[in-house]
């Protein structure tokens, strides 16, 4: 499984890529493989305020609905509408076009408590 080196990871299988004060959030390749065919995605509304660990989005496979948690606290500044139209992007390109939302970090130090790629690899048994 691909675990890009430039991202941080939550134990609940979200990734975040931080640029300046903004982070882009999605789910990992491991998570999409576990979820199987994703047929519905509901990214959070722009302006929504989220705490680290709070439910940010819902994705649903044919079989089950899964909550997606925000790895950090902050305010949603962008939502990926492409995944609403084509939820399969979460399966086919989880680290790219399948991103879910962008968040302006209110507490950038939270990033330090997230897993680095090596720790996340260990978690998923890679």
């Amino acid at each position: 499984m691909n675990v890009p080196g430039n991202l941080r990871y939550a134990e609940s299988h979200e990734w975040i890529r931080v640029e300046g004060d903004t982070g882009t959030v999605g789910i990992t390749e491991h998570a999409q493989a576990e979820l199987t065919d994703i047929v519905f995605a509901e990214p959070p509304a722009v302006g929504k305020s989220l705490k680290a660990g709070e439910v940010a989005a819902v994705v649903e496979s044919v079989k089950a609905a899964s909550d997606i948690y925000s790895p950090v606290s902050g305010e949603v500044v962008e939502r990926n509408t492409a995944i609403e139209i084509a939820p399969a992007l979460l399966n086919t390109d989880p680290f790219g076009e399948g991103w879910i939302f962008k968040i302006r970090l209110s507490n950038p130090s939270e990033i330090e408590s997230l897993k680095d790629p090596a720790a996340y690899k260990a978690q998923i048994g890679e």
């Binding site: 199987t36 044919v62 609403e84």
Partner: protein, 352 residues
């Protein structure tokens, strides 16, 4: 519990889940891919967990007619029919397939979750002149489904698949029945458990894609076929479930008949309906609230995302005055209502 194909499922990449106490594959390559294979070419399902009962003896047909809603005595040899088994209140204990074999023998195929209960119910009502055997543990079964199922049949048995549905062939110790739960052409192949692995291998070699319970559910729901335990219950009659055509009221008696006759006279209060979501929505699931004219009247009994239609689909038991095609309804998912419409079954029909 495990079927004889447990190891074969792991080899094929099956993702195993619990189903009525059985470790069964929910999917292999993916539900969407497997669903499409069955709609466009062919797929194979392990249905070894289902139960096989044998009934023989001079009074076998008459006894089955006293327990089942459909007419068993009028069934020709080598033919099968779908039937319900009811309790005294007219509620559905199980839905099953009755196969009339050669001689005075019948094979019943029942739901995996209901084997013990069905067998107990039937044994408690046994009479002289009837031999009942629950041989579920002795048999494995494969369901081969899809427009290319005939080619698989030819490769396996060296003869043409009967074009007619509900035909029963006895081939050696095996039974092959042209039935299924997907709306596609196909057959169900019941064999001694020891043959399961080799049969599975041959079906895959002939070109069928391994399919799991996930695709089985989306395929049957697109057809509006009920699933016992979800859409059928001991508190609901077959008239409410829209299965009246499988009830033969001309039979002098069968368990539950009086209750059905009384319900017919007083009016069926509700009917199991197929619903199609008319806007973009999350996949439907069981137990979502259903609204009519703003009032909550039911909950979904089954629900899914329909891979063939690309929208949410569901079943729900609605008050009879609303149980007509075109009736608008709303289904609530996480506090948000989505527009739906009662649809004639099947929900999905092949372009011809």
């Amino acid at each position: 519990m495990r079927t004889p194909l447990f190891e074969a499922h792991l080899v094929a990449g099956g993702r195993m889940v619990d189903f009525a106490g059985w470790e069964m594959p929910v999917q292999y390559s993916g539900i969407l891919d497997e669903h499409q294979a069955v709609r466009e070419s062919s797929g194979v399902f392990d249905v070894s967990h289902m139960g096989e009962f044998f009934v023989s003896g001079a009074w076998g047909a008459a006894w089955l007619d006293s327990l089942l809603t459909n007419n068993v005595a009028s069934l020709d040899r080598g033919h099968a029919c779908y039937s319900l088994m009811l309790n005294e209140r007219g509620g559905v204990i199980d839905d099953l397939i009755v196969c009339r074999l050669g001689g005075e023998e019948f094979l019943l195929v029942v739901n995996a979750s209901m084997i013990a209960e069905d067998a107990g119910w039937m044994k408690a009502r046994l009479r002289e002149g009837v031999v009942f055997e629950n041989r579920s543990a002795d048999f494995a079964a494969l369901a081969v489904q899809g427009p290319a199922a005939g080619e698989i049949f030819g490769a396996l048995f060296g003869r043409a698949m009967p074009a007619e549905r509900n035909r029963v062939l006895e081939i050696g110790e095996d039974f092959v029945v042209t039935t299924g739960y997907t709306g596609e052409k196909g057959f169900e192949w019941i064999m001694p458990s020891a043959e399961a692995t080799e049969s599975w291998r041959r079906v895959l070699e002939a070109g069928a894609k391994p399919c799991g319970l996930g695709a089985r559910d989306t395929l049957r729901l697109e057809m509006g076929y009920p699933l016992n335990g979800s859409d059928l219950s001991p508190d609901q009659t077959p008239l409410e479930a829209g299965l009246g055509i499988f009830v033969d009221f001309t039979k002098p008696s069968f368990v539950g008949k009086e209750a059905l006759v009384a319900q017919k006279a007083s009016g069926v209060p509700r009917r199991l309906c197929a619903l199609k979501v008319m806007e973009k929505s999350p996949p439907m699931r069981p137990h979502y609230p259903v609204f009519l004219d703003g009032a909550r009247v039911a909950e979904t009994t089954s629900g899914a995302y329909s891979p063939s239609l690309g929208c949410g689909i569901a079943m729900a038991c609605l008050p009879v005055e609303f149980a007509r095609p075109g009736q608008e309804a709303a289904i609530e998912v996480r506090g948000k209502k989505f527009r739906a419409c009662v649809h004639k079954k099947p929900l999905y029909q092949k372009a011809t």
